[in-house]
Symmetry: C2
Subunit: 344 residues, 2 copies
């Protein structure tokens, strides 16, 4: 099974041409932050993960993408109004992904994406980007695929994109099949309106290794990686239990320890991979101190970068905003809560 055969199978009963020559597809998808991380692939080509993972979507924060067919020799890609050179890695990745969908081999696309989160700040901009793109393609070609099918398509572009098709808590089930048709997101039906995520940006001077490469290097060289599935199994059980019973300390502790374990694994790669800067560690120490002194119930998670994402409840928001003036507070359930509110 290749990405191409996967796409063709999912689209077997769907239109492969736009309804009109001037049709434009448009869609939004939220970014997502993993509370239990995706770290390691069992199949590079299909982006099949070694373990399940679990994330929370960021509501209104994410990517809005418009796509239409054009004449020409190259795809035209713009992000936040800036046209990308075809030499840029992301352009290449996007064009390779779009090869799976072109009605004719000479079809070219124009893609305009607006992202309302800092790009490449470890805020999963590629996740929401690929999720918004498959939704925009669905809009362009008027497919009637389920989110579940779109999740499989998005996964082919960027693994964690398969979790960005829903609001709220989403589990990516690794699946068992070799063809990957059972490796996709599944939404959890619990809302947690008091939950907050705070983005704590750390000044990053030097460019570090991409998460894609870091993952690969960890899997291939760390002698400890073989135990990662055990850590994930334990953490997933605890996170789902915490969500179900609204046990915030259990959620926070588990998410933090899962992130720390992922970074510990990277430290044991050869060569060692370090995303934590002294400033990151200063913030972590502050957070541990707030917990120890019972000043706030706050935890962090950290992805493939130096920035931290704080986890806390609404009751601690003003305290933390005071301590960290630059904290960007996200209310993951705001959008879905207000939608439900307007329906009732």
């Amino acid at each position: 099974m290749t990405p191409k055969t996967t796409v063709d199978k999912i689209l077997s009963n769907q239109p492969r041409q736009p309804a009109s020559a001037h049709a434009v597809g448009s869609a939004f998808a939220p970014s997502n932050i993993a509370l239990c991380k995706y770290w390691g692939k069992r199949n590079d080509q299909l982006n099949l993960p070694v373990t399940n993972s679990l994330s929370i979507s960021l509501g209104n924060l994410g990517a809005t993408t418009r796509i239409w067919e054009v004449e020409g020799t190259e795809d035209r890609v713009s992000v936040n109004g800036q046209v990308l050179s075809i030499e840029v890695e992301f352009h290449k990745r996007l064009s390779a992904f779009l090869n799976l969908f072109r009605p004719q081999s000479h079809t070219r696309y124009c893609i305009e994406t607006t992202v309302n989160i800092p790009i490449a700040a470890g805020l999963a901009s590629s996740a929401c980007g690929f999720a918004a793109l498959v939704r925009a393609l669905q809009d362009l070609y008027q497919w009637n695929l389920s989110n579940s099918d779109l999740s499989v398509l998005a996964r082919l572009g960027s693994g964690s994109a398969c979790r960005s098709l829903w609001e709220g808590f989403v589990e990516w089930e690794r699946g068992e099949q070799e063809d990957g048709f059972d490796s996709k997101g599944v939404v959890l039906d619990t809302l947690w309106p008091e939950l907050r995520m705070g983005l704590l940006m750390v000044d990053e001077k030097q460019k570090t290794i991409s998460s894609r490469m870091a993952m690969k290097q960890t899997v291939e060289t760390s002698l400890f990686y073989c135990q990662w599935p055990s850590q994930v199994n334990r953490d997933l059980l605890n996170i789902k239990k915490a969500i179900q019973s609204k046990d915030f300390p259990l959620l926070g502790e588990t998410a933090e320890s899962n992130a720390e374990a992922m970074h510990a694994l990277m430290m044991t790669a050869q060569p060692s991979i370090q995303y934590t800067t002294p400033e990151t560690l200063k913030f972590k120490t502050q957070i541990w101190d707030y917990r120890k002194d019972n000043r706030a119930s706050v935890y962090f998670t950290q992805d493939a970068g130096p920035n931290l994402k704080l986890l806390f409840l609404s009751q601690d928001e003003s305290f933390l905003q005071e301590q960290f003036p630059n904290l960007q507070v996200i209310v993951p359930f705001q959008k879905i809560s207000s939608q439900l509110g307007s329906k009732s």
Copy 2:
């Protein structure tokens, strides 16, 4: 087998009384820093380790201990001229260890120790302390035990003390026997006069968990600990190869990655154990930058504390002393080289 039966077996043909009532035993033992760490016991009572480990002794830096028998109800212990209260943990540990050696149950000891390295700065002061103590006991009672036998005795006081009976590189062979008689230090016969170790002290504000407790917590709660022996096996092979062929980058890389793996393991304990402070990480980053920019071939190792021990060769000493004005440079092979020099 208990510590007491171990001691009685080793001392079966040795005097158990001092030659005269006023006899005083006196001895020195060097401190040692592990290049491949000892982290985890398979037997708590006998201090039997899960894996081998390998250290370098610090030459003239260590403990000088005098011991004699006294009347009284308690042992009298002084460290660097300061008398320890019997409530102090270290006093209790020392008295419990001395219980293994008292000729009569009412025999009490006076122990005076002078340590010429910062105490509890992760410079293995307890290792050289217990090694100097068993040597002082040998001097007091006029035993004629080999260093190998003394190593087993020292191990009963503090695991890593069994490596402090020799100068230079010493491997602690974990041994296979349940009674621990084969778990002791073995000296390597390679000298490396150009080798330097630099002590980089980090201001430590808060008291952290003891290495003894940290080790126990790691073994009991980290899901990754089961892979530690594989890491040690790989690292020991490389370190011994590096020593034999005087391949300094291989020595440095391996020692650094071994220490980082130990700290990564601690991060995955529950709760997580963190000895690295933002200042420690700032120094690490500096060291990585010097290597990356080819300014110095310098590596670090780190024990159960925030301080770093730098590894480098004499050629980089003046550069590093400039960069780190507080660097305390140790020449591990100075003592043994000068001894050999004076003999020839």
